[in-house]
């Protein structure tokens, strides 16, 4: 009894300790919570200093912009600040590169191109930094007259010299993700004169990037200052009807302040050639985290640890082609919130005004029954606005590798995809309508070719020659078994790769593998999830067999997609050793045609031929809410989706808060 009482005393003491601790913690939490703003997020900002930061290389984690004024007016009300939550953050701000979607979206709001698009019109090219342009009759010379009075955020004026510098900067970088990607072209002397001989990545240039090579590039006069300081002339190596569209492509060709870049540049010490301000074959580390554009926003701060970015409205912005003045929203906080659930909650509670919402969470904001039954968007909350669905400019497909390699680089002994019956067996084993309706929740359309809905040369009447039919699939598989030598007694296995977390890819892979495996004809398909990097790596290395992947339209014309799939000389077609000379011929003719109707016709013929051989299984064109998966607070006004901005992202300039 004595000891029991003593134990109770001890327990009371212990309980008391715990209760006191909990009370202290709760009191502390309440105190700090009470002292924090109601719209507390990780990015509320009132700082006036925009130059007080250090680069991440010295251990600190923020960078700042190059705005020439020493301070920014503070005291902005919360209605002039927009919080946008994304799943991932930027890794570089250099406009000469396309690094990732987050980087490009921010650059899209800081930098501008010679040409562009307005509103939701993805077909009409609008002069932006160029006032107008002319072309020679042979389409080999383009002359652009620049707008005058436009300044960069560092205060220096836009002029032809800056434009020439910006393009050569991207070409000299010669990276697979740089401007060079679009202007080196496919043959000598390059789309822009001299680029093919220079580029090691896309042309015949040396990997040493000697000064002689650089000098030869410049002396080819591919891009030069024209008759006055506001005139730029492009000399093309061959005519390309897409050239002007490339100039509007938001993933390249942005114009940067030459003064700013040059003042922070040092010549290379590795023997590479250079022009003042840009080294050949090398990235510019300073420009990866500093900006100087003409756009409606400038970079206020970037926390490289979290990826959070703050953009401030550029008070000296020239107003755009419609002269609509500076941006309505003074500050945009772009926060990285990796958790889908957290982004949904923050948008619903009003902590954020725009959220990148994954397709699986769409029905947190719109009525699912109404959508599935009648494809109508009905928002479930008065505090959010759901815009869409819109074409996304994306196409998902099942690819087959026509020359599979082993990890050591040797050619694999089992090469199944040359067999047309096997390809059709796969295609007939997939119920595309079911995938779109159920796996994609109706956010998409069944695909019939590589050119997505909404692109210029899309043709809705191209037949696919395959459809969900298991009996037909089995018949084709039986024929393939005989030709390829697999059977129940001599089984073969194929791996079908899709990306981790991609539920639609998983559904496609599972459906095909289940249907084929159930036929018990000796072929087993293993559906395997991998990271995006692993899958792309396997495709590039040629070790992949069957895979699920997407392609985005590079421009509204999307001819680059047709070239990628149909020529076998670049991108996906090269990786999988695609080799259909008839298709290739048609694609090249389509790419060089200057008659849109002829281009559409040739493209359609090429795609029809591909479909006759089931050389790819086109699955669906996803549709999207917002620009690329965004849902908005109802306080956000002015949004217009433009499929031309698929690779660019959201334009904050068009938005206002009300």
């Amino acid at each position: 009894m004595y000891f029991s009482k003593k134990r109770q005393a001890i327990s009371r003491v212990a309980i008391t300790v715990i209760v006191i601790v909990i009370l202290v913690v709760a009191a502390g939490a309440a105190y700090f919570a009470l002292s924090s703003k109601p719209t507390s997020t990780s990015s509320s900002t009132t700082s006036s200093s925009i130059t007080s930061s250090v680069t991440s290389s010295s251990g600190s984690s923020s960078v700042a912009s190059s705005q020439s004024s020493s301070s920014v007016t503070t005291g902005q009300s919360s209605s002039s600040k927009l919080v946008y939550e994304r799943a991932s953050g930027p890794t570089s701000m250099d406009p000469a590169y396309w690094i990732n979607a987050a980087s490009r979206e921010i650059e899209f709001n800081i930098y501008e191109n010679l040409l562009g698009y307005l509103g939701n019109d993805s077909k009409t090219l609008v002069p932006f930094l160029a006032q107008n342009y002319t072309s020679s009759t042979d389409d080999l010379t383009f002359t652009f007259n620049l707008r005058q009075g436009v300044t960069f955020s560092d205060g220096t004026p836009l002029n032809a010299s800056a434009v020439v510098f910006s393009f050569y900067r991207g070409i000299l970088a010669d990276s697979g993700t740089s401007t060079a990607n679009y202007f080196v072209g496919t043959r000598a002397p390059g789309l822009i004169n001299g680029t093919y001989a220079f580029s090691h990545t896309f042309g015949k240039g040396s990997a040493n990037y000697t000064q002689a090579q650089v000098d030869a590039l410049i002396n080819s006069h591919g891009i030069v200052v024209g008759a006055n300081p506001y005139q730029v002339v492009f000399h093309l190596g061959y005519a390309d009807p897409l050239f002007v569209r490339y100039l509007a492509y938001e993933s390249c060709c942005s114009i940067v302040s030459q003064t700013f870049v040059t003042s922070h540049w040092t010549p290379p010490t590795n023997g590479h050639g250079y022009i003042t301000g840009a080294s050949a074959g090398m990235a510019d580390p300073y420009m990866s985290n500093h900006t100087a554009g003409t756009g409606p926003y400038f970079l206020k701060s970037w926390d490289t640890a979290t990826g959070n970015v703050v953009l401030n409205a550029n008070p000296t912005y020239w107003g755009g082609p419609n002269n609509t003045g500076p941006a309505h929203i003074q500050e945009v906080d772009i926060n990285v919130v990796t958790s889908n659930s957290a982004r949904v909650l923050d948008l619903q509670s009003g902590t954020s005004q725009i959220g990148d919402i994954s397709t699986s969470d769409y029905f947190s904001f719109l009525d699912k029954t109404t959508w599935l039954s009648s494809q109508k968007i009905v928002s479930t909350s008065p505090s959010t606005s759901v815009f869409g669905p819109y074409p996304s400019g994306v196409m998902w497909y099942v690819g087959m590798n026509f020359q599979i390699r082993n990890p050591d680089g040797s050619i694999a002994s089992f090469q199944p995809w040359q067999n047309k019956n096997l390809r059709f067996a796969m295609a007939d084993a997939l119920n595309l309508t079911d995938i779109v309706r159920n796996a994609a929740a109706g956010f998409g359309e069944v695909a019939d070719g590589p050119l997505p809905v909404g692109t210029v040369y899309y043709n809705s009447s191209i037949p696919t020659y395959y459809g969900y039919n298991l009996a037909q699939s089995k018949s084709n598989l039986t024929a393939a078994a005989s030709a390829l030598g697999f059977s129940a007694s001599n089984p073969k296995t194929i791996t079908f790769i899709y990306m981790t977390g991609d539920n639609i890819g998983q559904a496609v892979a599972t459906e095909i593998s289940t249907n084929i495996n159930n036929m018990n004809l000796g072929l087993t398909i293993n559906a395997v999830a991998q990271t995006a990097q692993q899958e792309v790596g396997a495709v590039v290395a040629g070790t992949v067999s069957l895979f699920w992947l997407q392609f985005s339209a590079g421009t509204p014309a999307a001819i680059d997609m047709l070239i990628a799939f149909g020529t076998g000389t670049t991108n996906i077609g090269a990786f999988i050793h695609y080799n259909n000379s008839a298709v290739k011929s048609l694609v090249l003719q389509a790419a060089s045609s200057t008659d849109p109707q002829m281009t559409t016709q040739l493209a359609s013929q090429a795609i029809s031929l591909m479909n006759q051989g089931a050389e790819y299984i086109w699955v669906y064109y996803p549709t999207t809410l917002g620009q690329s998966g965004q849902i908005f607070s109802s306080s956000v006004k002015g949004f217009q989706q433009n499929v031309a901005f698929t690779n660019a992202g959201l334009s904050f300039y068009q938005l206002s808060l009300g």
Binding site: S11, T338, S339, A342, D346, V540
Partner: protein, 348 residues
Amino acid sequence: MRVNLFSYVLKRLLLLVFVLFGISIIVFVLSRGFPTKYPAWLQYVTATANPDQIETIKVQHGLNLPLYEQYFYWLKDALTNNWGISHWAGDQSTFSIFQTRFPLTVELAVSAMILAIILGIPLGIISATRPNKLPDHASRIAALIGYSLPAFWIGFLFQLLFSYYFKLWNLPTLPSSGYVDGHFIGNVKVISGIPILDAVLTGNIPYFESSVTHLILPMLTLSFILMGFLARTVRSSMVDVLTQDYILLARSKGLTERVVIYRHALKNAIIPTLTIGGVLFGYIVGGTVVIELVFSWPGVGWAALQAATNNDTNFLMLYSIVAAVIVGIVSLVIDVAYSFLDPRIKLI
């Protein structure tokens, strides 16, 4: 004892060097030494790379050399604190990424561990001293919930309550993501990289408040899980110790129950808890990926996940080495602590 302790610590540290050497070889060989679909050059590849470009990349990064040469170059660089660059992070120095993010993980891990100890040990004592009574049942249920529920689920519930529902109910809220308010970035002096510590050292009260409010939810989530393990361990070892003869003798000598429990029983009962706690601490300092992802806490766990998914062998090597150092040091501290708690344990 002092001489023994010193020589013991020195011996363990020397052994740790060999352990690190071995770990570096193992991780290096595993990441670069086998034919694989996901080789080390993969992180530098773009979708448009052709075989020539891949060869150029290999030469640029020394990936075409024999494995042992690659290792010696890596070792030489590591000994001069050059851990390479991380392509997924925009070609930033791997070390600078680690340097920026590791202190944030330390802040989260240490605070969560402290809270878990403050709550978990008393909970375990309550359970043990009132076995099969209501406080014991309540304590055990709380501990069970703590280590049974998935971390992301606990975190999400906290976000739902403190960030969403509190806002709907017009109550003060706590931030659901990030480690500090954005306007502090670039405007505060960074000394240790641990926001709370830097705020204290610089006397920056607003920064301190912001750091603490952002820390609360992830810390509560992590400590809730840790508390479960600690409480359960303390309870089971305390129950065992309380049945020992020397406890009965202590009581029969007339010692107060407080003295019996805290001076005699707890010292022996805490030993297994020390082991568990040390292992857990080493684990969470290595990076609690799930917590960091749920709360967008930019710690080293999140970075390691990004590195792993982007084939960044540079970061993974550094991460492995540091994790091994932490585990080694924590083990050493625990072993030394054993000798203080139980004189029967000799350091050899």
